[in-house]
């Protein structure tokens, strides 16, 4: 029931056991194993939920009830992980990984394996055609446009191409909560402006896109830490990231391609995106500098 890829991911982070066992103080190895199995399951559920939030209907408004239920599940897991201390460990591991600039391919592969397993598992009890009955219970794994907002928070999926594995899991999708709902309230906003922005930007430099992603991270974490409010974002950062990215249209076309090939995981998305515009991964220097920026932001948010 649980994807095999999870184990590999766990060893990648490689940091769970010491703190985990300190917390729990269990002498027997069986108990530890049970605990880590529970953590594994919880982690896998979290990843699955975030992916679900990320993928909404392309053309039709996403089902608000479903989004709310998934978001509540994610929040629940996050709260529990925060209590465990696991959440802090994750984010610290994240920063450590950033510093080492390990945006290596094997991490992304792990994600891809996880997603592929997820899709394969999904295939068993409910083989396609799912969209046929998807009107009642949302279609799974249909890729979406995550609607833009006035603030220009977008490119969440692009985040996955450059960040190490954990942020891949968390950031784009939690970010996905806001726009999926916020668009509903857009009745008073000038939506024409948004669509113009969307349409105009086709070729954008990597830096702009990655800058967007960093800003996204900040907002996402802000959303998520309702109980432990993040320190208010640095105004200098806000200025720095005030550019609005209009590569949304690009994302649309990429995701349209994904819809017809549902077996693609985020790793394939990475490839499509890199073929689409200037490849973010090819220039490792820009990657590293942006990861440093991400690292910087994360430090501010996590508050050490």
């Amino acid at each position: 029931m649980f994807p095999k890829g999870t184990k590999r991911k766990f060893s990648d982070s490689g940091d769970e056991p010491p703190a985990g066992s300190d917390d729990v103080n269990q002498p027997s190895s069986a108990a530890v194993r049970m605990l880590s199995s529970y953590s594994l399951q919880r982690q896998s559920l979290l990843d699955m939920s975030l992916i679900k939030l990320q993928l909404c209907h392309m053309l039709v408004e996403p089902n608000l009830c479903r989004s709310v239920l998934i978001a509540n599940t994610v929040r629940q897991i996050q709260e529990e992980m925060t209590q465990d201390g696991t959440w802090q460990i994750m984010t610290q591991a994240l920063s450590a990984a950033n510093a080492a600039a390990q945006c290596s391919a094997d991490r992304l592969v792990a994600t891809e394996v996880l997603c592929r397993q997820t899709e394969a598992a999904q295939g068993e009890p409910a083989p396609k055609p799912f969209p046929a009955v998807g009107s009642e219970g949302c279609s799974a794994e249909e890729v979406v446009v995550v609607e833009e907002e006035d603030e220009g928070v977008e490119g969440g999926v692009i985040m996955s191409t450059v960040s190490p594995q954990a942020p891949t899991a968390y950031l784009p999708s939690t970010f996905g909560i806001d726009p999926c709902w916020e668009e509903e309230t857009g009745e008073e906003e000038d939506e024409d402006e948004d669509s113009e922005e969307c349409a105009s930007g086709s070729e954008e430099g990597d830096n702009d896109r990655l800058v967007e992603d960093s800003r996204t991270a900040e907002q996402v974490f802000g959303t998520f830490e309702i109980k432990n409010p993040a320190p208010s974002p640095d105004p200098a950062l806000e200025e720095l990231f005030s550019d609005v990215d209009a590569s949304y249209y690009d994302l649309d076309t990429v995701l349209t391609g994904m819809q017809s090939a549902p077996k693609m995981g985020p790793y394939d998305l990475l490839e499509s995106l890199s073929s689409h515009g200037p490849s973010p991964l090819s220039s490792s220097t820009s990657c590293r500098s942006d990861l440093n920026e991400l690292d910087h932001i994360m430090e501010i948010i996590v508050g050490s």
Binding site: L59, E61, R66, V68, T73, P125, P127, S135, D178, E183
Partner: protein
């Protein structure tokens, strides 16, 4: 129960009998409404109940495009509710995600013949040729059933409409979307009153949505709405213009031993229905159906497990999104039995008095017309008896979400994806 009819359709999204049970309306994913009418019982075959034949088909809603949000608005009919019949014509409300329409279905079985100014085929007659006047007469013609949209109630819902319910005063009705409930007058389309609004000021704080709403069958000031957190609120419209504070709050305390990450999702109520008596209401969540006494808020009076064997499969069902399926439920005419759907084209009926339950299957292969339906069983333990089906071989694509029970007789309509099954009891 006997299977009497299987009818082909597009993917059915709602099923509803009218007040007399003579008409059965279905709405589908393509925005069409198909109305079936029961045959009059023929005198030479007294033991066979009337069959349902197509009476009228019309396109109720078309796909639309919201230009402001760059999103399509699906034409799928979410709900149909009949209005009480006031004259020879029949009226119903049908709704998609955004717009509610009132349709009038009328019969025409006569036409006028013998016009003075035009021929029978419609050509104008030469006025100089007319030498005498005649009075047109009404001649019988083949029955024609016409459906015409009489009212269109639009632009009142930002979110997706999930319920409509006609009030017992027969003048007003309510419509509910994910965050708001509006009250309409059937004659007025340019105005509606917002009576419930649970939208938070900051959408990031949204944790609960409205999942269903219904008017009380007798008290025109009372209605209920259910939420995604498994709660039901009963509101009295006399208390305030905006019914944000409920008069009654129904919630069953959670069983701490069965708590999991999926607890909230499976507690989300997908349907709420008042009993015909108005004394009880029934709610459907993912695994069970609960009957509530309106006078007791802290727990339901009856709980029926629909497919408890799925509890150990919740993670898989979450993965493939089946956990978000919205099953409906319905009462029989006397409130003695309730029915709801499940997977593998199974549906379940519970007798409230005898506490007996039965699982039946809606499928062409497994039941010949006029043959008695065989009860089904899903094996939960390790050993699978003959004729039982194991949980792992259930087809989760075949889900029965919509069922309806005739208001007076033991006739049920079951929608299995794109087939409509009609089952009847035989006369003793």
């Amino acid at each position: 129960m006997y299977l009497t009819q299987v009818l082909d359709a597009d993917i059915i999204s709602t099923v509803e009998f009218n007040y007399s049970g003579e008409l059965l309306a279905t709405g589908d994913k393509g925005g069409r409404v198909v109305i079936f009418q029961r045959e009059q019982e023929s005198k030479n075959r007294p033991h066979s109940r009337g069959e349902y034949n197509v009476y009228s088909t019309f396109q109720s809603h078309e796909p639309e495009f919201d230009y402001l949000k760059s999103l399509e608005i699906e034409e799928k009919i979410n709900k149909i509710r009949w209005l009480p019949q006031q004259n020879a014509a029949h009226s119903l409300l049908s709704t998609n995600d955004k717009t509610i329409k009132l349709w009038k279905i009328s019969e025409r079985d006569k036409r006028a013949e013998g016009y003075n100014l035009k021929d029978e085929d419609g050509r104008l007659r030469d006025p100089f040729r007319i030498t005498s006047l005649r009075v047109p007469v009404l001649m019988p013609m083949d029955l024609m059933v016409e459906a015409s949209p009489r009212r269109i109630f639009a632009n009142a819902h930002t979110y997706h409409i999930n319920s409509i319910s006609v009030n017992s005063d027969h003048e007003t009705y309510l419509s509910a979307d994910d965050l708001r409930i509006n009250l309409w007058h059937l004659e007025i389309t340019d105005r509606s009153f917002n009576i419930v609004d649970i939208k938070p000021a900051n959408m990031e704080e949204l944790t609960e949505v409205i999942t269903a709403a219904e008017c009380h069958p007798h008290q025109c000031n009372v209605f209920v709405y259910s939420s995604s957190k498994g709660t039901i609120r009963l509101c009295d419209m006399r208390a305030a213009a905006l019914c944000d504070r409920q008069s009654k709050f129904f919630e069953e305390p959670e069983d701490p031993s069965s708590r999991s990450f999926f607890s909230e999702i499976i507690s989300s109520i997908s349907d709420v229905k008042f009993s015909h008596s108005g004394r009880y209401m029934m709610t459907r969540d993912y695994l069970s159906v609960k009957v509530w006494d309106l006078n007791m808020e802290n727990r339901p009076v009856e709980t029926y497990q629909v497919h408890e064997y799925l509890r150990s499969k919740l993670c898989s069902l979450y993965e493939n999104d089946c956990i978000f399926d919205k099953f409906e439920c319905c009462w029989n005419g006397s409130d003695s039995a309730i029915m709801t759907g499940s997977y593998n084209n199974f549906f379940r009926m519970f007798d409230r008095n005898t506490r007996r339950d039965i699982t039946l299957e809606a499928s062409r292969e497994n039941s010949k017309p006029r043959a008695v339906l065989k009860p089904r069983k899903v094996s939960t333990g390790g050993k699978r008896k003959k004729d039982e089906i194991s949980v792992d071989s259930l087809d989760f694509n075949k889900k029965i979400l919509h069922t309806a029970w005739h208001p007076k007789e033991n006739v049920i309509a079951v929608a299995a994806t794109n087939n409509l099954y009609i089952f009847q009891d035989k006369i003793n």
